[in-house]
């Protein structure tokens, strides 16, 4: 059967597995075991301890933080199968991937596809080493769901562009070194007037202001560009190609935001386990509140169907080669279910699950509240659910073909 796992792995895989184990034994500091934070790579502050730095450098030197990227640009050059082995062994050792963030998830894959040789050589290796943080300059105050309405203008000054305008919802803008931006190079054409430009965050004229959110955190910023000089070689692709490149990048973003396996890991305990801690159980160990029990089962069944869908999409995209429009379906489903789960968790915990700060709450309870609130953003950012529905209707279902 094609669908059954291959129980007898070829010996080349065993050799690679040995290599990974040796590397981990030698380089992964035991005191970091189980401490990896997937989120820190995206929008956390940049301070790292000496031990963390060493671990990042060790992984970066191998290119194993970006395992399937080409070796010539500092990636690991591994096959998908080897990357899976690397993941398995790291999980077994309690090791985390110290190299992440938007450079890895979104910008890198897009630059590898559209960037010039010089751009790839300049920008990909520092991403692989986890040295440079990228942020995304897409949304503007009047260009959210209608992203193509963006107005930030890059004026052609011969050897450079002069950029003026405002971006918003810049995730991790206060910590980023560089920004991949959609800017307008032509005011006469909504879509074809957009270009994809790389801007240094420490260039004169760039100002960043964090936005405080309902969760109390400030993971997003407003970014202002005032007469910022950007060299011409920072244009990716052609002038006017920004919308095409930018949309491609969003497919990578959706695939990552939908979560799937990593989301499930982040969420930790099952709802049933949480319920057993916070509500009564009967003598057989079942949740005594039959209505709540039914709702948990209903949710868990759908959550499992979603995880199976994420896995199926991975298998199918492997067979077809690359990310696809199905990423819209995954983003829409995963974020909605994630929110539903957070709401149900709070309901299971009662008022104990709504603590804001201070005494009387565990760390898990407090961070759960923040995650619930932060999670409201998931159906808004990366293309809101309504935008995903438009994409599905138009590109997958062909509902506008007859217009």
């Amino acid at each position: 059967m094609a669908t059954q796992p291959d129980l007898k792995a070829p010996s080349a895989d065993d050799a690679f597995r040995e290599e990974v184990r040796d590397f981990l034994a030698e380089n992964f500091p035991p005191e970091l075991k189980g401490k990896g934070s997937a989120l820190a790579g995206v929008d956390g502050p940049t301070e790292e301890s000496e031990t963390q730095r060493k671990w990042r450098e060790a992984m970066g030197a191998r290119g194993w933080g970006t395992p399937t990227w080409p070796k010539e640009y500092g990636g690991g050059g591994l096959s998908r199968r080897q990357a899976a082995i690397l993941n398995e062994e790291m999980a077994k050792a309690g090791a985390y991937n110290p190299i992440g963030g938007m450079g890895v998830m979104m910008f890198g894959p897009t630059l590898l596809e559209y960037g010039s040789e010089a751009q790839k050589s300049e920008h990909i290796p520092p991403i692989c080493r986890g040295e440079i943080r990228w942020c995304q300059g897409y949304s503007e105050p009047n260009a959210g769901s209608d992203l193509a309405n963006l107005q930030t203008f890059a004026e052609d000054k011969g050897d450079h562009y002069l950029v003026n305008g405002q971006k918003t919802w810049t995730s991790g803008g206060q910590w980023a070194d560089k920004c991949f931006c959609l800017v307008r190079t032509d005011k006469s054409d909504k879509h074809k007037g957009i270009s994809f430009l790389l801007i240094d965050m420490d260039a004169p004229g760039v100002e960043v202001r964090p936005i405080q959110m309902i969760s109390g955190m400030s993971p997003f910023c407003e970014t202002f560009f005032t007469d910022v000089k950007v060299p011409k070689e920072n244009l990716v692709g052609e002038e006017g190609q920004g919308w095409t490149i930018g949309k491609r990048l969003l497919q990578h973003e959706r695939t990552n935001l939908s979560g799937g396996g990593s989301l499930a890991r982040m969420m930790g305990a099952s709802l049933a386990d949480i319920a057993k801690k916070y509500v009564e159980t009967d003598e057989s160990g079942a949740i005594a509140d039959k209505v709540l029990r039914d709702r948990i089962a209903d949710f868990e069944i759908r959550w499992n169907a979603f995880l199976l869908t994420a896995r199926r999409a991975t298998e199918e995209s492997k067979a077809a080669g690359g990310v696809s429009e199905i990423s819209s379906v995954l983003k829409k489903l995963g974020t909605k279910l994630g929110q539903e789960r957070a709401e149900l968790t709070i309901e299971i915990m009662g008022l104990q699950g709504l603590g804001w700060e201070g005494e009387g709450f565990t760390d898990a309870e407090l961070s759960g509240v923040r995650a619930w609130l932060f999670g409201k953003a998931t159906t808004i950012y990366g293309g809101s659910t309504e935008i995903q529905n438009n994409i599905i209707a138009k590109r997958v279902l062909g509902m506008l073909d007859h217009q």
């Binding site: 094609a2 057993k276 160990g285 079942a286 029990r293 169907a305 209707a393 509902m399 073909d401 007859h402």
Partner: protein, 356 residues
């Protein structure tokens, strides 16, 4: 769609071509018009059996192809798309009960006949309108089975009943001590109350304590495959309709209110397909069958329920007419939703499996 091997792709394409060309919904209309209680076309079923479809989960030594559950599911899904009326699912399930729990003698006697289409089999488990395998009153004494089974699928054509008694599963042949009373359901397929009054019964002694559960999990998954085909067909038909129907000088498909409803259904359908394929893959691998089968049928119930309702609504008034096929799917959907576990039964079972 799961990634298929060459043999599975061929099988699916063959089933798709046959269903589309030889067994469109118009064929079911003919069956319905005939009024025959067994409610299927014998010639069509013979053709299906000749293509090997009744023996897909039967070992080669007993006349089957042993292609496995994913293969069986592909065929059943394609037949579900066109509402093909046949005892294929019922016979496959009867055969799998014998594969799992039968003696060599029982296998040799029945499997080749079931796989070739010469004999038709069916499960007779539930005794009331709700699926409840924990409550079985039928009993056997001195090799004679007595009891009443409710809403038995394909009962009118069955040569062999796989009957649940309080102490296990039994094979009972049609004939002395077996009587039928037709229960015409909304799907207009074959259903009957079957009364066993001292009928000769031959126990399926193998398969262990979980035999009934194992057979029912296969019933849940295979039924979910038929439901998947139906849901896909309702979705596709509705989408086609929205693309051609014009109101307010506009094709309906261009209205955003309708686009977003279709996008929602598309997401649901993706989850249903993943859950059903997950059930088939669990059956083929033998791991986590009870859980995967419960997820498969629960998702099939949820999604087909929604899609069949939305399908009628989005067709507007024409969807209420007998002339349009969409209503047939709605009526068959509810019968299958209630079979082998309604939604509340499945949620309870899922929680029990999960230890809560």
């Amino acid at each position: 769609m799961a990634v298929l091997n060459e043999e599975q792709e061929m099988l699916r394409d063959m089933a798709r071509d046959w269903a589309t060309n030889e067994s469109p919904v118009a064929a079911f209309r003919k069956v319905r018009a005939s009024g025959a209680p067994e409610a299927f076309d014998r010639e069509a079923y013979t053709a299906m059996a000749q293509m090997g479809w009744a023996g897909i989960v039967v070992p080669e030594a007993h006349g089957g192809s042993d292609f496995g559950w994913l293969s069986a599911g592909l065929v059943v899904e394609e037949l579900g798309k066109t509402l093909t009326a046949s005892p294929l699912v019922a016979t496959t399930l009867a055969a799998t009960a014998i594969v799992l729990g039968g003696s060599e003698e029982q296998k040799a006697k029945w499997l080749p006949r079931l796989a070739s289409g010469e004999a038709i089999g069916t499960l007779a488990i539930d005794e009331g309108p709700h699926h409840n395998p924990a409550k079985i009153a039928a009993s056997v004494s001195g090799g004679k089975l007595s009891g009443t089974k409710a809403f038995v699928h394909e009962a009118h054509s069955a040569d062999l009943f796989v009957v649940a008694a309080a102490d296990g599963l039994y094979l009972v042949e049609k004939g002395d001590g077996v009587s039928l009373s037709t229960r015409k359901l909304t799907d207009q397929r074959s259903h009957a109350e079957v009364t066993f009054d001292g009928a000769a019964a031959d126990k399926l002694a193998g398969g262990g304590d979980s035999l009934l559960d194992d057979v029912l999990d296969r019933a849940r998954v295979l039924t979910a495959c038929e439901m998947l085909g139906m849901a896909q067909a309702v979705f596709d038909t509705t989408l086609d309709y929205l693309k051609q129907r014009v109101q307010f000088n506009q094709v309906l498909a261009t209205f955003q209110a309708l686009q977003h409803r279709m996008a929602d259904l598309f997401g649901d359908l993706a989850m249903m397909r993943s859950a059903v394929e997950g059930g088939l893959q669990a059956l083929d691998s033998g791991f986590g069958v009870a859980r995967a089968a419960t997820i498969a049928k629960a998702e099939a119930n949820r999604v087909l329920h929604t899609i069949s309702r939305e399908g009628v609504q989005l067709h507007g008034g024409i969807g209420m007419t007998d002339e349009y096929d969409i209503g047939f799917y709605l009526k068959r959907a509810r019968v299958l939703e209630a079979s082998w576990g309604g939604t509340s039964y499945l949620r309870d079972r899922f929680a029990r499996i999960g230890g809560y």
